[in-house]
């Protein structure tokens, strides 16, 4: 949306006049409107930065169905018993009270891009000047015969944190002695590349104490995986003989799952588990597709310098839902992209300064108590994609002191990013 200097001056005047109002936030019709769909690492951060940095000059509405948001990052640590569920749950009170964001707990069901409105499940329609879409992922159930929304209650994915994670944890606790925890890992691209393997480590950490003859079997469509060398080293060191990983070149392909028999059929063999954690193939959150922001890949193409959708310059897409180039799908990435987006949205609506886009990501994973590893990189915007400009990864054979420090760093990061998201 373009804005003339006069419009901007008028708006700024309105803000000044209203500064005596409670909290200093204006509730008039003159302010440009931003609607944010999704209150995760992308959406909550974008909403907060737009509200905070515009000092009330932009009207921000955040649409998020859950009143308590459980972060996917650190949900594996809950499975491992390093955190309780409450410690990864966050509410939106501060975004409303401290930043003046209109937090609406509802589902966005449609976007009228011509009329610039978002339809909610409650029947209300919300107008916008700029729309930020940060819906996370949904699953491509149809790509794995036998898996479905219904099957997910027996074979949890636990890849959207909260109830599913609690279900998976309770199933692990109820496993028979010497039983098998089986994971079906997802094909690329998917949320949190090291996530499945950190999860296997956390399950091993629990079983080592409670059920030491149990086995963990990972059936993976891929032939290699994120931080593979680091995880393999850790599994051998801490959980010898417990974790087995079968890659796509060994089993030949995952054909189907059967929730009744708790089995997974591959070209090579049919495997049975006592707990079966199926993490299916993924796509952008459904609302992105409904809004016409996805391409044939199922993800949303974006303009790297601003995070605008390539389908519509008034719409910005963040986080896991994007097909952006080199950045992995992670909470850290979404949070980073949100700040570029917030700057671009404010620039478009209020004429504020625009600086070159900068992005970065770091992903920490826990292998065993006080043994953390990490991978990270810096990124810049090119015309085609968000491009890596150099990164690093933990090394095998690092000292216990360094690994402990890396874990402690991840705990500090959790506090940092969740404060950055929710205030």
């Amino acid at each position: 949306m373009g804005m003339t200097r006069r419009q901007f001056a008028r708006m700024a005047g309105a803000v000044a006049l209203a500064s005596a109002a409670p909290l200093g936030f204006v509730h008039g019709a003159a302010r440009p409107k931003v609607v944010v769909i999704g209150g995760g690492a992308g959406g909550a951060t974008a909403g907060r930065y737009i509200a905070k940095d515009s000092k009330g000059a932009v009207d921000v509405t955040l649409i998020e169905p859950t009143r308590m948001y459980y972060t996917c990052f650190f949900s594996n640590l809950y499975i491992g018993g390093f955190r309780d569920l409450a410690s990864i749950g966050h509410t939106y009170g501060k975004l409303a009270s401290d930043y003046g964001i209109n937090v609406v707990h509802d589902w966005a069901t449609g976007v009228d891009r011509a009329g610039k409105t978002v339809a909610l499940a409650s029947g209300v329609s919300v107008p916008y000047d700029a729309l930020v879409v940060s819906p996370g992922i949904d699953f491509k159930y149809e790509t794995l015969p036998g898996y479905s929304l219904e099957a997910a209650s027996r074979m949890p994915h636990a890849y959207k944190a909260g109830t599913q994670t609690a279900l998976l944890k309770s199933q692990i606790n109820a496993m028979p002695a010497g039983g098998t925890f089986m994971m079906v890992a997802p094909p690329n691209p998917y949320r949190c590349p090291p996530g499945p393997y950190e999860r296997a480590s956390m399950v091993a950490h629990v079983l080592k104490q409670t059920n030491p003859t149990a086995k963990i079997l990972i059936i993976d469509p891929k032939t290699k995986f994120s931080k593979g060398g680091l995880f393999s080293e850790g599994w051998e060191k801490y959980y010898p003989g417990m974790v087995e990983w079968i890659g796509g070149d060994v089993h030949g392909g995952i054909r189907s799952v059967n929730a009744g028999e708790m089995s997974v059929e591959t070209d090579f063999d049919t495997f049975r588990g006592d707990v079966v954690n199926v993490i299916p193939a993924q796509k952008a959150g459904h609302i992105a597709e409904v809004a016409g922001l996805t391409d044939a890949s199922g993800w949303c193409p974006i303009v790297p310098a601003t995070m605008q959708s390539r389908m519509d310059p008034s719409v910005y897409v963040l986080g896991d839902a994007t097909m952006n180039g080199d950045m992995p799908k992670s909470g850290f990435s979404a949070n980073s992209q949100a700040k570029v987006c917030a700057m671009a949205v404010r620039h478009a609506l209020t004429g504020s300064k625009m600086f070159p886009a900068r992005f970065r990501n770091t992903c920490w994973s826990l292998i065993e108590t006080n043994d953390g590893v990490k991978v990270g990189a810096n990124y810049e915007a090119t015309d085609e994609k968000i491009a890596s400009t150099g990164g690093f990864i933990s090394h095998t054979g690092e000292s216990a002191a360094l690994r402990k420090k890396t874990y402690e760093e991840s705990v500090g990061w959790y506090e940092g990013i969740t404060t950055d998201m929710f205030g």
Partner: protein
């Protein structure tokens, strides 16, 4: 923290050539760039697992960042971050974080 400051001070003499008095970075630019820092470093100054970076004097801040940029300090994340920043950006960050008070005990 003490060790951090000591190293910072050691770096200062090397910087005197560049520093004609205090560093005068663009705090607006710093505020934007700081978004990258506060994904990990808490703005309150809490330092559980990750050091506090608020309320530093600008000279120490710049010295530490330049030291990271040269790979002279032991943190791959921070070496990676610092190597992506030029002096103007580091000065802007220093100016920004110098204005933020430590709010946590």
């Amino acid at each position: 923290m003490l060790a951090l400051r000591r190293t910072a001070n050691a770096g200062v003499s090397a910087l005197c050539l560049m520093a004609s008095g205090a560093f005068a970075g663009d705090a607006d630019y710093g505020a934007y760039l700081s978004g990258e820092c506060v994904a990990c470093h808490q703005k309150s100054g809490a330092d559980d697992g990750i050091p506090s970076i608020v309320g530093w004097d600008t000279v120490s801040f710049v010295a530490v960042m330049l030291s990271y940029r040269q790979g002279g300090r032991d943190s791959e994340v921070m070496v990676n971050v610092a190597q992506s920043l030029d002096l103007e950006q580091i000065e802007a960050l220093a100016a920004h974080f110098a204005t933020i008070e430590h709010r946590e005990e």
